[in-house]
């Protein structure tokens, strides 16, 4: 009884030792790589979020101690402020427009750029270039282009459409859509590059087989390209939604949310009410609302849209 067990144990011990040290080394490696990231995450992401939640319960000028506790008062004020609900509406208009307008453009251009033709490399650079610019530079360039009698107005005039010239940034009913055009100009290149990368991953054989079966090019796009591009499209949608919700730089530099709050986004409203007015408690409440809306949308999107991708990947791997 005892001898086999001892022998087993010794055998086990002999084989355990290297495994044990390997495990320890793996843990050490894990700690080495994870801890710095974890520290930064806790200190620079989680802690500030919790702090913002804390501040949001006070009436606080940003200076001095937190003493004037108002509970959910700031949140109530925010939802009672038509300027804030207006800003939320603007964000969702931008989300909707981004998905509906930018996607067909990005897909069309990506399909085009995926075909071999002379000057393709140059065309890719042209489409992607705006994405490389910072938002601040984009905003300043477009301010110049859009100013009355600027490049856009002259362009319209030179093709005999002088009557179509509008006050692109000064018209309350138009300014949000002007902003959307600028956003599209800046970010559609990113969508194109993402979709192009996705297209490269689609095996050519499928198209060849379909061609032999007599499929037309639209049929191939509909039944081969789009389904196989699904994961890329869904990720693009995710990034587009989050980007539209958090839009700040472009709007702040170009219009400061004006005129008369017509182009306010949640983020510009937050900056205006938090920093410019020294109402840091209220600004924090707005920031928390912005965070919750973005976070909730991200979770819903992951649950209902992106989940299919992970499941597909996992089953394929298992099979």
């Amino acid at each position: 009884m005892s001898s086999p067990s001892t022998s087993l144990r010794t055998a086990g011990r002999r084989s355990l030792r290297p495994a044990d040290s390997a495990r320890r080394r793996r843990r050490l490696e894990l700690a080495f790589f994870i801890v710095p990231a974890l520290v930064f995450y806790l200190a620079l992401v989680l802690y500030p979020i919790l702090q913002a939640v804390h501040y949001s319960l006070f009436n606080w000028s940003g200076l001095g101690t937190l003493s004037d506790f108002v509970g959910i008062g700031n949140y109530r004020d925010a939802f009672n402020d038509p300027e804030f609900t207006g800003a939320i509406k603007h964000n969702f208009i931008l989300v909707g427009l981004s998905l509906v307008v930018q996607f067909p453009i990005a897909l069309g251009v990506a399909l085009l750029l995926n075909r071999p033709f002379r000057g393709r490399r140059a065309a890719r650079i042209v489409f992607f270039a705006p994405y490389v610019l910072s938002e601040a530079i984009t905003a300043v360039i477009w301010l110049l282009i859009l100013q009355p009698d600027g490049l856009v107005d002259r362009g319209f005039q030179s093709v005999g459409l002088g009557g179509a010239v509008q006050l692109w940034l000064a018209d309350l009913n138009l300014v949000l859509f002007t902003m959307f055009v600028v956003i599209t100009w800046k970010y559609v290149g990113f969508g194109i590059i993402l979709l192009l990368a996705g297209l490269q991953g689609i095996p050519q054989e499928l198209h060849e087989a379909a061609a032999i079966d007599g499929a037309k090019s639209w049929t191939m796009v509909r039944y081969i390209t789009l389904p196989l591009l699904g994961p890329t499209i869904r990720i693009w949608g995710f990034l587009s939604i989050i980007g539209s919700l958090q839009l700040f730089d472009l709007v702040w530099i170009m219009t400061q949310g004006g005129p008369a709050e017509a182009s306010n986004t949640m983020a510009t409203y937050m900056f205006n009410n938090g920093f410019v007015r020294y109402e840091f408690g209220y600004g924090s409440a707005v920031a928390v609302i912005l965070f919750i809306i973005s976070f909730a949308l991200a979770l819903i999107y992951q649950r209902f849209v992106l989940r299919r991708d992970t499941r597909g990947a996992l089953t394929r791997m298992a099979g």
């Binding site: 994870i34 006050l167 017509a262």
Partner: protein
């Protein structure tokens, strides 16, 4: 269990090591500043020349005079400085020692939070040199800052365009202004340029009209009681609306910035695209910088005070104005900091600054150094004003001040009437005071 505990211990250990490393670096940094040698970090808004180089020179000159004090001049873009940099820095443990101070309601907020040094006892021997200008940098009778630049708002105008429209002399009354606007329109000239994108230029009109129609007591009390029930406030709005209905502004003015680029309101005046602009005393420097030769309109540029309103309850000749100053933060070495402020507003330094023609010096006897005849005229108007009301967005707490600017901007965009403007201001005052 044990293994897991060990992993956690390892994690915590690494955290501790990292944290102590952080501590070590801070300790090392703390040691470099000796007990005697003092460094003053100075945040100001002179990001462009000639102001930028001049402040850098002042900083090094001061170091030459006081070898134990090093002044570190840090120029920061004005709006960033005012809206984010200063509030965040004051709340942190590492604020600048000397920082740009606009006075008024924001100064009050900073003082109540204990973030600004009381320099009353240091400045007492010499503050008379600055005269009445210092009032905007006081809070409850104590001095918390020193102004080096104080000006009044008025109309900058293009003499050639006025002449072209057949206007012999700048308007004296509110009605004259409308007559001249009509003449300019007939001559095909944009009468008034305004930078409504920035909101505060809109408020200049409303503020100035309030200065004309509200009594001095009403104006001064409003910054204490935040009571806006006097009908004169609505009257200021009605008069503003009257101007708006006349459509004197450039095409697309709602999106025009005040000071950035040739398409800004200052740029339009400087480049001869509009006849006049209601702006602060700094406007000449701004508009010159926005013209191709940096010279602006030259001798064609003129200045006239805001027109009078017959029957208004305001002090005749009163002006709307404000300025720039510096404060010492709660962390600053007080005697050295106060002495540096004294140096900044000493007559030789102020004279040198006045020569740059970018503002109106506050130290008595330094105005003569203003090389520009128009600035000398503005300085004269400032001295002649029986009463200078600080811009209302500065005089009030930042919450009320910004709500005021925002409500008036809404009126300029056709989204609020005069009553709604007063209601919006009163509402923000009620919720924050």
């Amino acid at each position: 269990m044990f293994r897991r505990w060990k992993t956690w211990a390892l994690l915590l250990g690494t955290v501790a090591v990292l944290a102590s490393l952080g501590g070590l670096t801070t300790a090392a940094q703390g040691k470099t500043a000796g007990p005697k040698a003092v460094t003053l970090t100075w945040w100001h808004n002179a990001t462009a020349d000639p102001g930028k180089s001049y402040w850098a020179k002042v900083a090094s000159d001061y170091h030459k005079l006081h070898p134990d004090v090093t002044v570190n001049s840090v120029p920061i873009q004005n709006e960033t400085l005012q809206n984010t940099k200063i509030p965040l820095a004051l709340q942190s443990n590492d604020p600048p020692d000397v920082f740009q101070q606009w006075g008024g309601g924001v100064l009050g907020t900073q003082v109540r939070a204990g973030k600004v040094a009381d320099i009353t006892k240091y400045v007492k021997p010499w503050i008379k040199l600055l005269g009445g200008a210092v009032a905007g940098w006081q809070y409850q009778g104590k001095q918390y800052g020193i102004p080096y630049n104080l000006g009044v708002v008025g109309f900058w105008y293009n003499k050639a365009l006025f002449k072209q429209a057949g206007i012999a002399a700048p308007p004296k009354t509110w009605n004259d202004l409308f007559t001249d606007i009509a003449k300019l329109k007939t001559a095909g000239v944009t009468p008034i340029a305004i930078g409504s994108k920035d909101r505060w230029p809109d408020a200049f009109y409303w503020d100035y009209l309030a200065v004309r129609v509200c009594s001095k007591t009403t104006l001064q009390q409003s910054a204490i009681t935040y009571n806006f029930s006097d009908p004169c406030w609505t009257k200021a709005g009605t008069l503003t609306q009257q101007l708006l209905n006349d459509k004197p502004f450039q095409n697309g003015f709602l999106a025009t910035p005040a000071q950035q680029g040739a398409g800004s309101s200052a740029g339009l005046i400087g480049n001869g695209k509009a006849a006049m602009e209601l702006q602060g005393h700094w406007d000449e420097g701004v508009m010159n910088g926005l013209t191709p030769n940096q010279k602006g309109l030259g001798s064609n540029l003129g200045w006239f005070p805001f027109p009078s309103i017959p029957g208004g309850k305001g002090v005749p000749g009163a002006a709307l104005g404000g300025g720039d100053g510096y404060s010492c933060s709660w962390k600053a070495p007080e005697p050295q900091c106060a002495d540096f402020l004294k140096y900044l507003v000493s007559v030789p330094v102020q004279k040198g600054w006045a020569k740059l023609n970018i503002g109106l010096p506050t130290a008595k006897g330094s105005e003569s150094a203003l090389g520009d005849p128009i600035l000398r005229a503005v300085a004269k108007a400032r001295s002649a004003s029986p009463f200078v009301q600080t811009y209302l967005d500065i005089a009030y707490s930042s919450t009320v001040g910004q709500a005021l600017d925002s409500a008036i901007a809404d009126m300029f965009a056709g989204q609020k009437n005069p009553q709604q403007v007063v209601q919006a201001i009163a509402k923000s005052a009620k919720s924050s005071h």
